[in-house]
């Protein structure tokens, strides 16, 4: 891990300080009503209030539970499907056209239909995350299985490995960097889907819902505060969880060296 240089830390402080200051000046200039452009301390106070009465944690918990459930289902369905596509020709020929037609459709285009099919609430949001996360997982796993070096498989065969052993000890670790890259992409897409889905389909809790609900009451401070939470959570997951996952598994087995963030 590269230590952050002091230069870039100073730069970050200047950047956030300057933009907070610019926002503050703009907000206090009175060119727009303060209900629309709340000053920084109002945003901080709104977040602090949500932390104090605990609602922020409930919103975050619901959002994370929805994306977690959707991602888990997508991984359970997508990774085996991708593996099958990579190993079995007819499956590949049958599934690939379907995937390439469905994958460019933005997941949020399905929201109104999912609401009709699954009703308002958790099921629609989870289904949306599932849809958004499925395709990156399938496509990356498939690419990964196809990219496993033929030589490795032949070498394992000549050393007398059966199909099961080849799959477990050669194909699986060989495809893993791609699966993890797919998981990363799936999370990024699922994160967008869960926030968007909650805006339209959630009924009570969730970070997307709280932004949409605050709009009704013109609580711009809550909206901006929740936006910051969404950004920080997304960045945190990307930098901490997935980077750690990559270090623990792929790098340790020596398959990629020091994957850069």
């Amino acid at each position: 891990m590269r230590l952050p240089r002091t230069r870039s830390v100073v730069g970050a402080v200047i950047a956030f300080g300057a933009s907070a200051l610019a926002w503050e000046v703009f907000a206090r200039s009175g060119s727009l009503p303060p209900a629309i452009t709340p000053p920084v301390e109002a945003i901080v106070a709104a977040v602090a209030q949500m932390v104090r009465d605990g609602t922020l944690f409930v919103h975050v918990g619901y959002t994370l539970a929805r994306i977690g459930a959707g991602l888990a289902l997508a991984a359970l369905a997508g990774v085996p499907l991708g593996m099958l596509m990579g190993r079995v020709r007819p499956v590949e020929r049958f599934v690939l056209p379907l995937v390439s037609v469905l994958s460019p459709i933005p997941s949020l285009a399905w929201v109104p239909l999912f609401i009709l099919w699954f009703g308002l609430g958790n099921t629609a949001s989870v289904a949306l995350v599932f849809y958004a996360a499925l395709f990156p997982l399938v496509l990356n796993t498939w690419t990964g299985v196809c990219a496993v070096n033929r030589l490795w498989i032949r070498a394992a065969e000549s050393m007398g490995a059966g199909p099961g052993a080849i799959f477990r000890h050669v194909v699986l670790p060989g495809a893993l960097p791609f699966v993890i890259a797919g998981l990363r992409q799936a999370f990024a897409r699922g994160w967008i889907a869960v926030v968007g889905g909650e805006m339209i389909a959630a009924t009570r809790w969730g970070l997307g819902w709280v932004i949409f609900d605050s709009k009704e009451f013109l609580n711009t401070d809550v909206m901006l505060g929740s936006l910051a939470v969404i950004g920080l959570l997304g960045l945190g997951f990307e930098r901490l969880v997935f980077a750690a996952l990559e270090r623990r598994t792929v790098e340790r087995w020596g398959l990629v060296q020091g994957a850069r963030p």
Binding site: I14, S107, I192, G196, K215, L218, G234, L235
Partner: protein, 231 residues
């Protein structure tokens, strides 16, 4: 189709295809698609220009990089759609917030990739151009720009994909006059699932078309032709 599910909610393929043709013949679907594409073009153009400029500045000046990069890397993972309600409050309903949001969402991947591209230009290329007596402007035009182009193209591609995703969703929220997202959202009110599925099919086709018909030829004409990227 087997009668397990109500056909109102799960229309048969024949119904969807029939609706699709009916909507195309009556001009409804093309009008909505054109509205969406026009919005996409304006918004994406704004985002692409802003993103490339931002990326170039970040790549060429250390000072700008130190200050702007933290802002870009925090802004990048926030889903563009999360800003939609705020943009509605700030800019009202209709076309303006939709176009601005599309540009805003598209600018991030473009900026990040342009920045990566400029930094990936080999120092030795620049040094040899300097040694051959090239001036600052010439280095920029003849070395940095073509060198960064493959990454910029990737950024534009990612930016367009993101713009497309955001646009469809934001059309549902800002009640634009004509648009595919609005078509789907409006059709829900009437339980017209066949119209919704026809709209989704058009969205998928347009997305596929943008990728195959716009970007692949563009890449062939520029990056591959200049020998920056083997195909």
């Amino acid at each position: 189709m087997l009668g397990l599910m109500p056909p109102k909610l799960f229309p048969g393929v024949d119904r969807i295809v029939a609706t699709f043709w009916r909507l195309i013949a009556s001009g409804v679907l093309p009008a909505h698609a054109l509205g969406t594409l026009a919005r996409l073009a304006v918004g994406f153009a704004l985002g692409a220009v802003a993103g490339v400029l931002l990326g170039l500045v970040m790549g060429r000046s250390r000072w700008a990089e130190d200050v702007l990069l933290p802002l870009v890397s925090v802004g990048n993972p926030i889903p563009g759609l999360a800003y939609a309600p705020l943009f509605v409050i700030w800019f009202g309903l209709g076309n303006l917030p939709a176009v601005l949001l599309v540009g805003f969402a598209a600018a991030f991947p473009v900026a990040v990739n342009t920045w990566t591209g400029v930094r990936a230009v080999k120092a030795i290329w620049i040094r040899s151009a300097v040694a051959m007596g090239a001036r600052e402007r010439q280095i920029f035009r003849k070395v940095v720009l073509p060198g960064a182009l493959p990454a910029v193209m990737t950024g534009l591609r990612l930016g367009l994909a993101r713009a497309w995703r955001v646009l469809v969703a934001v059309e549902m929220l800002t009640s634009v006059p004509l648009g595919l997202g609005w078509l789907i959202f409006g059709a829900r009110e009437f339980l017209a699932t066949d119209v919704m599925l026809a709209g989704i099919a058009v969205i998928g086709l347009v997305g596929l078309g943008l990728e195959k018909l716009v970007f692949e030829p563009l890449e062939r004409l520029t990056v591959v032709r200049w020998g920056m990227l083997a195909r």
